[in-house]
């Protein structure tokens, strides 16, 4: 090469501006959700003054807590560019397992642990199949969705667990709490903060983002991809199990159909919350806000006298709106980066 040395000048691309921009977009995403939430709550309150009463807020938090927990687990899996469709079935079977145990006179703490352990076990199954089977997670977990539901149906049969079968302490867990703050919401918040902290500040958490962002590069960087993906599924299963136990505590009523179709609500919450299906981006906080938003809409509709038949349609619309916003933002960012590159390149 002859004229080698001349073009050597420091490259300026990827200057601090790019970071700020992306940061802003991410923050705006969570901010936007908060704004929509605030507008929705304020609007509903104007239409129906009981919406923000102590009981109203309490109901809202109670309704959102379980979805927040399961969505946080789902978000962890989606960050790795996978999905777990079996969370609804897991929630159903763990709720029944906990109830069945409590019905026989067990202790509430053990029942919680049992549900979490069973969920984690199912997570191991999902994680192993996805990471070693090299089959798309959508298909694998669709399979386990039906298998778990099938086992659940055979086991439960026509049995039903009702609140009357459960110890009082356990039922209080599902309803009580200091002031207007239900225990359920406290558990959800604690889960969220712990998981968010782990994903942000620990090697394991960052590696999940790396896997979702570029699986091949993660492998080359020495990340134990299979182990990490399995761990994400175990976590997701465990949180679905926790969700199952809390569902039992809150509603006291479990049969073989409990949790059917719940996975779709969970996935909607995650996507509305800005966790991209392409992996590597989003946060559990976003997913939690998504869950809170969907729950609030569903609570607001009856308060405003709107038929609950609209729920599904509105959730669907939100989902599409969220994806459309993602796409627009991505295009915008691409354009800005393009201009910047052109200027410096």
């Amino acid at each position: 090469m002859t004229t080698v040395a001349r073009a050597a000048r420091p490259t300026q691309i990827g200057a601090p501006g790019a970071k700020r921009l992306v940061d802003q977009v991410l923050r705006v995403r969570e901010l936007a959700l908060l704004v929509i939430l605030a507008v929705l709550v304020a609007g509903t309150e104007l239409g129906n003054h009981r919406f923000l009463s102590t009981q109203g807020v309490k109901d809202l938090l109670l309704n959102a807590a379980i979805l927040v927990i399961v969505a946080a687990g789902q978000a962890t899996v989606v960050i790795t560019r996978n999905v777990d469709l079996s969370v609804g079935s897991t929630l159903g079977i763990t709720a029944f397992a906990a109830g069945n145990y409590l019905r026989g006179g067990g202790s509430p703490a053990v029942a919680l642990l049992l549900a979490v352990a069973l969920g984690a076990g199912l997570g191991i199954l999902n994680g192993t199949l996805v990471s070693f089977g090299r089959v798309p997670s959508l298909v694998v977990t669709l399979g386990t969705l039906y298998i778990i539901r099938g086992v659940d149906s055979i086991w439960v049969g026509s049995q039903e667990i009702v609140a009357h079968d459960l110890p009082g302490g356990f039922v209080r867990l599902g309803h009580g709490g200091p002031f207007f703050l239900p225990y359920l919401a406290i558990i959800a918040l604690a889960t969220l903060v712990a998981l968010g902290f782990y994903l942000r500040s620990y090697r394991g958490g960052r590696e999940l983002y790396a896997i979702g962002s570029n699986p091949e590069a993660a492998r080359l960087a020495g990340v134990a991809v299979r182990k990490r993906i399995t761990a994400a599924y175990v976590l997701c299963g465990a949180l679905a199990g926790l969700g199952g136990a809390l569902y039992l505590a809150r509603f006291g009523n479990v049969d073989s159909g409990t949790g059917s179709g719940y996975e779709l609500t969970v996935v909607s919450a995650v996507v509305v919350g800005g966790v991209a299906f392409t992996g590597g981006s989003g946060s559990v906080y976003g997913a939690a806000l998504g869950a809170l938003l969907l729950t609030t809409i569903n609570s607001a509709l009856p308060s405003l006298g709107v038929s609950s038949s609209w729920e599904g349609a509105i959730d669907g619309f939100l989902l599409l709106a969220a994806i459309a916003v993602d796409r627009l933002v991505a295009l915008r960012v691409a354009r800005v980066l393009r201009r910047r590159n052109a200027r410096h390149g």
């Binding site: 050597a8 200057a15 090697r203 390149g345």
Partner: protein, 509 residues
């Protein structure tokens, strides 16, 4: 450069290593010694087994037979993490970054330093990561922000992040797999400076490149592979490029740039003041029948973007494109194809081929209409046409029903070319037609381009390979920062004249 004969043993070595994938024997009985302070080149055509060898050294593959020796002792790398911990750093041909994560996280992924204090709870030490990244970039002389996301970095900057990653490992062995394929001369010189510095500090360097002049500039010894076998390991000093090519190909090569003089005819493609905001501005040129027009310039100068806009992949904001005198509607590849344009894109894996589809299917993609029979695709017609093209382009393949992933890079490129030639184009746009292709196939692609021009096709060739530009083009246009800055006739084209225009130094008229 000085001869580095090391009295000490090899840092990393392969002894009689073999590796097969299914029935394909990728490496058989290959030995290699990498010494501290020595730059060792690995030469060979595509498919000779270079990548397999690298991946064995990097812990990605485990050999079927033979041994990997670290400091003379046999080791087994269970994965890339093991090799990395042993001090082996690899800069792969394609940057392997995480677009969603910050530059600093990219550098330290999988081995982030942790807070040691009790209150730190074993968290990642973010500040250390950022400070060390900033220090690495300072050492490399690049102004990259460690906090910036990797998404949106230019290829050159991505390469810099990869180099910083390798540096941060304080590697004892640095393996570079065609790191310069997508680089401009400035980046190449920086890369070489880094490799030289590491070598000075006692690292062993293994260097793979299709650019032979780089092998001669950087390395002391060279190992040549052919068909998975070791041909020779010898000092570079006594060799000529021709010797090396003969070892790689196993025969004498006809000239690498078989440019024949073609009669230059009427204007086939006319681009008039084409502008895409923020990408390129006021680009005007014409290509005539029988002419090979080269578009040279640095990466990011907007060359590929012009090609994409002309072909209708991207929208243009102002200007006009005329094919055979008729204006082309903007942003319509269908109209461009109908008018007789064909585009062989830069990234053949992502844009030129459907990798999992068979050779014949890929060839048939551009002529779905012609292959129809009563509204349905005719498999027989598809196959017979594919066989014709395979013969004309001397494609090396096992079966036409094999997926194109099974082909070597050079043969994949031939499939892309055939796919577009089958449409019977009047203007052929080729973007980096021989990037990452071995010399043997490269010469065949050049002969093909020359032959096509001879038959009256207008060829617009985008290339960063200066010898290729000089050897093949009738005229050279040079782009810099989105503008055409120079037009150089064949007689005046030299590496100096093109590079000075591309970098904005004194432009020769």
């Amino acid at each position: 450069m000085s001869q580095a004969v090391e009295p000490a043993g090899a840092v990393l070595a392969l002894h009689g290593v073999s590796k097969s994938f299914g029935s394909v024997r990728a490496l058989s009985d290959v030995s290699l010694d990498l010494f501290a302070g020595e730059a060792h080149a690995l030469a060979g055509e595509n498919g000779a087994g270079k990548s397999t060898l690298i991946k064995i050294l990097a812990g990605v593959y485990r050999p079927d037979g033979g041994q990997v020796l670290l400091d003379g002792r046999p080791v087994t790398f269970a994965g890339p993490g093991d090799a990395r911990d042993a001090g082996v750093a690899v800069i792969y041909q394609e940057p392997t970054l995480f677009p969603d994560l910050s530059v600093a996280e990219n550098i330290f992924m999988g081995r982030q330093p942790r807070l040691r204090s009790l209150g730190g709870l074993g968290r990642i030490d973010r500040r250390a990561i950022h400070e060390e990244s900033a220090a690495l970039f300072a050492r490399l002389g690049v102004a990259l922000d460690p906090a910036a996301p990797a998404r949106g970095l230019s290829i050159a900057d991505q390469q810099m992040v990869e180099i910083a990653k390798a540096l941060s490992l304080r590697a004892r062995v640095l393996i570079m797999d065609e790191p310069t394929a997508a680089s401009t001369p400035g980046e190449v010189s920086r890369l070489f400076a880094v490799a030289g510095a590491l070598r000075g500090e006692g690292a062993a360097v293994l260097f793979i490149s299709h650019r032979l002049e780089e092998v001669f500039a950087l390395c002391q010894r060279v190992t040549t592979l052919r068909d998975g076998r070791l041909i020779a390991t010898e000092p570079v000093a006594g060799l000529t490029p021709d010797d090396l090519v003969r070892r790689m190909v196993g025969r004498d090569l006809d000239t690498l740039y078989p440019k024949t003089e073609a009669a230059i005819g009427a204007v086939a493609l006319q681009v008039d003041r084409l502008t895409r905001e923020g990408v390129f501005t006021d680009v005007s040129f014409e290509v005539r029948r029988g002419e090979i027009l080269a578009l040279a310039g640095l990466i990011g100068a907007g060359r590929s973007e012009v090609a994409r806009a002309v072909f209708g992949v991207d929208r243009w904001d102002a200007g006009a494109v005329r094919v055979g005198g008729k204006p082309l509607p903007p942003a319509s590849p269908t109209a461009a194809m109908a008018a007789g344009l064909a585009l062989v894109p830069e990234d053949r894996r992502a844009q030129g081929l459907v990798m999992d589809m068979s050779i014949e299917r890929n060839l048939g993609l551009t002529q779905l209409r012609a292959l129809r029979r009563g509204g349905l695709m005719s498999r027989r017609r598809e196959r017979s046409r594919a066989a014709d093209w395979a013969l004309r382009l001397r494609l090396k393949y096992a079966r036409l029903s094999d997926a194109v992933t099974m082909l070597s890079g050079g043969n994949q490129q031939k499939v892309v070319l055939a796919k577009w030639l089958a449409t019977g184009p009047a203007v052929l746009i080729v973007d980096e037609p021989t990037r990452g292709i071995d010399v043997g196939t490269k010469a065949e692609v050049h002969r093909l381009l020359s032959e096509l021009a001879g038959r009256g096709l207008a060829v617009l060739m985008i290339s960063s390979d200066l010898p290729e530009v000089i050897g093949m083009a009738d005229r050279v246009l040079v782009m810099r920062e989105g503008r055409l800055v120079a037009e150089i006739p064949r007689a005046g084209a030299s590496e100096e004249s093109i590079m000075s225009a591309a970098t904005g130094q004194v432009v020769s008229p």
